[in-house]
């Protein structure tokens, strides 16, 4: 019997080639149409330490990996313990330990000793190619099309390393016959056209360029740095500018300067960096300067756990900055959303002349996903700033009060439209003005211009049956596993799930959803239930509302969510 889904764990020490093995396998499978997700688990070490990936291959959808792994490849069993809650072994998990592990006393009962290092040494004199040997074994075990694997190896530049070490790969293929792996054969993908492989950080960077971003300023921070790296590689080719700033204050400040001069500008960071950008958010909100900030959330508080995922920057995104500081908060929940919502972030920032925070997280940002390329080839409508019609500097009012509260914005350097602006309370001309009436009007302007966003129904997705009286609200990467758990429990008809991608200002559609249910469950990955409290502050929730919220650092498992979801379903 062939399977439609398989979950493979790979663990080892830094230098064992865990990432290379995982991503090559993902790539070869994606070339044959298989969908997949491959989250990365790693610690705070600079080099060495443990590293692990979990790869789920699926014939139909890019599903979140199962809790349990079917095959566990381990190059260093002493490292496995660091990841035992992410890579859970079941009774029937086949554990393939490297031959170098033979003699270790704590190996699991069902382990098999596979000669990854031995084969590598026989061929090359060193154990360096053991991951390539393992790759050969796995492609055979999964019954990937041999012909297409060979073609990929010969054609794909990113697989050069594999091409150069083909004997090790072939040795691995031969090894496969010696192990009881026949139950792991995958059915061919339903549609065998090649998948694209992206992590959320790359999707954000690509989408930013697609949206017309031509100025990026960043500062290295885990787990957001890949956005800056992608921009570094691509933006200069597009005629854009990129600077690695001296800190996040400078990064955000430079983006504001570039935006004033007419460029679509962005910065990307994680929680600690967002702390530093807070004053600039206030400035951009007050002076109505379009600015996109991406926050790839990691575990807080303070330095927290930089390489692990959490959804705990929501309060900061919604409320940070002194004074009444309007802004927009968006949160994608899958790879296509990372791309689409980055474009949406620019559209909103530019059109409404405000700050947009895009809340990604470590899971979304760094999990490599093999997905359909539809989101790349789709048409996206781009919105631009309103520009002044004339060139009459004497009468130009930068903050003119209009019917929709949006004032035409000249770019600094535009001929004939000289104006001065400031973070001080200001009047329609942009001149400092701190009288009560002006300040009240300007607050109203900055808040009310965002009101139409509440009607953007397309940024709130409701899954399930409209008449269900039981509902879940969840957001960000947690939504993926919630949706899968509901489906696997067979509760799609009983429990509907609301996933808002626009969180602030609160979309009306969320209120409609909460009014339509008798029982509500809010699921999110932070200790204090930030979304739940935000919702409570804005709308009435059903009397029977429960919250499943806990610290991040460990992905939600299906098993753990099943309990509260079944309880909700009653």
């Amino acid at each position: 019997m062939m399977r439609n889904r398989i979950t493979i764990g790979i663990a080892g020490s830094g230098g064992d080639g865990v990432m290379v093995l995982g991503s090559f396998l993902q790539k070869l499978a994606a070339g044959q149409g298989y969908f997949s997700q491959m989250p990365r688990y790693y610690g705070a070490q600079i080099r060495g330490g443990g590293t692990a990936v979990k790869l789920s291959l699926d014939t139909e959808l890019p599903t979140v990996p199962e809790d349990n792994v079917d095959i566990m490849v381990c190059f260093d069993w002493s490292r496995y313990a660091e990841f035992k809650s992410e890579l859970v072994l079941a009774q029937d998990t086949v554990v393939l330990c490297d031959d170098t592990e033979a003699g270790q006393t704590d190996l699991p009962g069902q382990h098999l000793s596979a000669g990854f290092s031995r084969e590598s040494r026989t061929l090359t004199g060193s154990a360096l190619n053991k991951n390539i040997v393992a790759l050969g074994l796995l492609t055979k075990a999964l019954a990937l099309s041999e012909e297409r694997v060979r073609k990929a190896i010969s054609d794909d530049e990113e697989l050069t390393l594999l091409k150069d070490n083909l004997p090790a790969f072939e040795a691995g293929e031969k090894l496969a016959a010696g192990f009881p792996l026949s139950q792991f054969k995958l059915s061919p993908a339903l549609d065998d056209s090649p998948r694209v492989i992206f992590h959320g950080n790359a999707a954000v960077a690509r989408a930013a360029i697609r949206a017309g971003c031509r100025a990026f300023f960043g500062y290295p921070i885990t787990p957001a740095s890949e956005i800056m790296q992608e921009m570094q590689a691509e933006l200069p080719r597009q005629g854009g500018v990129i600077i690695q700033a001296e800190d996040e204050i400078a990064a955000a400040g430079m983006a504001v300067g570039a935006s004033l001069a007419g460029a679509k500008a962005m910065t990307a960071t994680s929680g600690p960096g967002l702390d530093l950008m807070t004053e600039t958010m206030g400035l951009a909100s007050s002076a109505e300067i379009p600015l996109v900030i991406v926050d790839v959330q990691r575990c807080g508080t303070s330095t927290g756990a930089p390489s692990k995922s959490e959804q705990s920057d929501l309060n900061q995104a919604i409320y940070a900055a002194h004074g009444d500081t309007p802004r927009v908060v968006l949160a994608p929940y899958d790879i296509a959303g990372c791309y689409r919502l980055t474009i949406e972030s620019f559209n909103i920032a530019e059109y409404y002349q405000t700050v947009v925070l895009l809340l990604s997280d470590q899971w979304l940002g760094q999990t490599l996903v093999a997905a359909s390329s539809d989101f790349l080839s789709k048409d996206y409508h781009l919105k631009e700033r309103k520009r002044p019609a004339g060139k009459d500097s004497d009468n130009y009012r930068r903050y003119q009060l209009t019917a929709d509260f949006i004032s035409p914005m000249a770019a600094v350097g535009d001929a004939g439209l000289v104006y001065q602006t400031t973070g001080l309370a200001h009047n329609e001309k942009g001149e400092p003005a701190s009288n009560f009436e002006t300040m009240q009007k300007m607050n109203e302007k900055r808040w009310q211009k965002l009101a139409p966003l509440r009607q953007l129904d397309e940024l709130v997705t409701v899954f399930g049956e409209e008449q269900s009286s039981k509902g879940i609200i969840t957001w960000g990467s947690s939504a993926q596993i919630v949706l899968e758990t509901v489906r696997e429990l067979g509760l799609q008809r009983k429990v509907k799930v609301c996933v808002p991608e626009l969180i602030h200002p609160l979309p009306d559609k969320i209120g409609t959803f909460t009014e339509s249910v008798e029982r509500l469950l809010v699921i999110e990955m932070n200790y204090s239930g930030q979304l739940y409290h935000y919702l409570r502050s804005q709308i009435c929730l059903p009397e029977r509302t429960a919250v499943y919220a806990r610290t991040g650092g460990r992905p939600f498992s299906r098993r753990e969510l099943a309990e509260s979801i079944s309880e909700l379903a009653g």
Partner: protein, 275 residues
């Protein structure tokens, strides 16, 4: 005032105290540097931080941004990168550029992006009403009578950002004085013309929070630098005067290191490579 020079002043009346040195900078910009350079107002962007002098963009008829404390120089860099044809000038006080924004300055220097940074150094936080700044004279040097009146004197030594900027190799480093508008205007012109990061320190009186003796003492012993001519050294120096060479960073550093209360050198201290 000719019709041209009038164009660079906006209609807004400055909030500064009568006699404030900031008027000198305003004149140097609007009556000298900008008209002489002949750059149209809509091609100039003046970014400031927070402080008395940072109110200046509102008084000048160019694009302007009175932004937030310490960040003028980063906003200026972003704007210049996005629109290189702009003439971008960052203006702020000693608190703005040397204290809260001090971390940005060396990085602006090393990037050598073509902007002009003007520090209005009045040795005090005027807008908050007389607090000490990184350039407030230090008590240990026996300068008690030169301190601002209402607050306790600083225990920290003066932060000498002029020497620091020379040391980091800013490609154009100059010092002017607010009381000599013609000379200051010329320095700003040269700074704007210089292709690269230009840093101009402007010695400025605060008539409200500093005793008049402070600026009088500075003014009494300033010396104007001229390329190829002997430099004047303070009485305490035992060195033989050398001929001023703004291309020699080591000689420039020596000039910058003399305390302003002993000898403030006005002119172009150092001019390095252009961008």
């Amino acid at each position: 005032m000719t019709e041209d020079t009038k164009d660079y002043r906006s209609g807004i009346k400055p909030v500064w105290c009568p006699g404030c040195g900031d008027f000198g900078l305003l004149s140097a910009l609007t009556r000298r540097a900008l008209p002489n350079l002949g750059i149209p107002g809509d091609n100039v962007f003046i970014v400031s931080g927070i402080g008395c002098s940072s109110r200046i963009p509102g008084y000048i008829n160019t694009y302007g941004f009175n932004s937030i404390h310490g960040r003028a120089v980063v906003i200026a860099q972003g704007a210049k990168l996005a629109r290189p044809e702009l003439t971008v000038i960052a203006i702020g006080g000693d608190g703005d550029f040397f204290s809260i924004g001090g971390g940005h300055l060396p990085h602006a220097v090393r990037r050598n992006i073509d902007i002009t940074c003007i520090v209005v150094d009045n040795f005090v936080y005027g807008l908050t009403k007389g607090h000490i700044s990184p350039t407030t004279p230090n008590l240990e040097r026996g300068e008690e009578r030169l301190l601002s009146q209402p607050f306790y004197p600083p225990l920290d030594p003066v932060l000498d950002m002029l020497s620091y900027s020379v040391a980091t190799g800013s490609s154009f480093i100059a010092q002017g004085i607010a009381s000599d508008v013609a000379h200051l205007g010329w320095l700003i012109e040269e700074g704007v013309k210089h292709k690269g990061f230009s840093f101009i320190n402007v010695l400025t009186p605060c008539v409200t929070f500093n005793p008049p003796e402070l600026f009088e003492k500075i003014k009494a012993q300033v010396s104007y630098l001229k390329e190829g001519e002997p430099v004047q050294l303070p009485a305490s120096s035992k060195e033989k005067p050398w001929l001023h060479d703004p291309a020699d960073i080591n000689l420039s550093l020596k000039l910058a290191r003399f305390p302003v209360l002993e000898k403030a050198h006005l002119g172009i201290l150092f001019q390095g490579k252009e961008d």
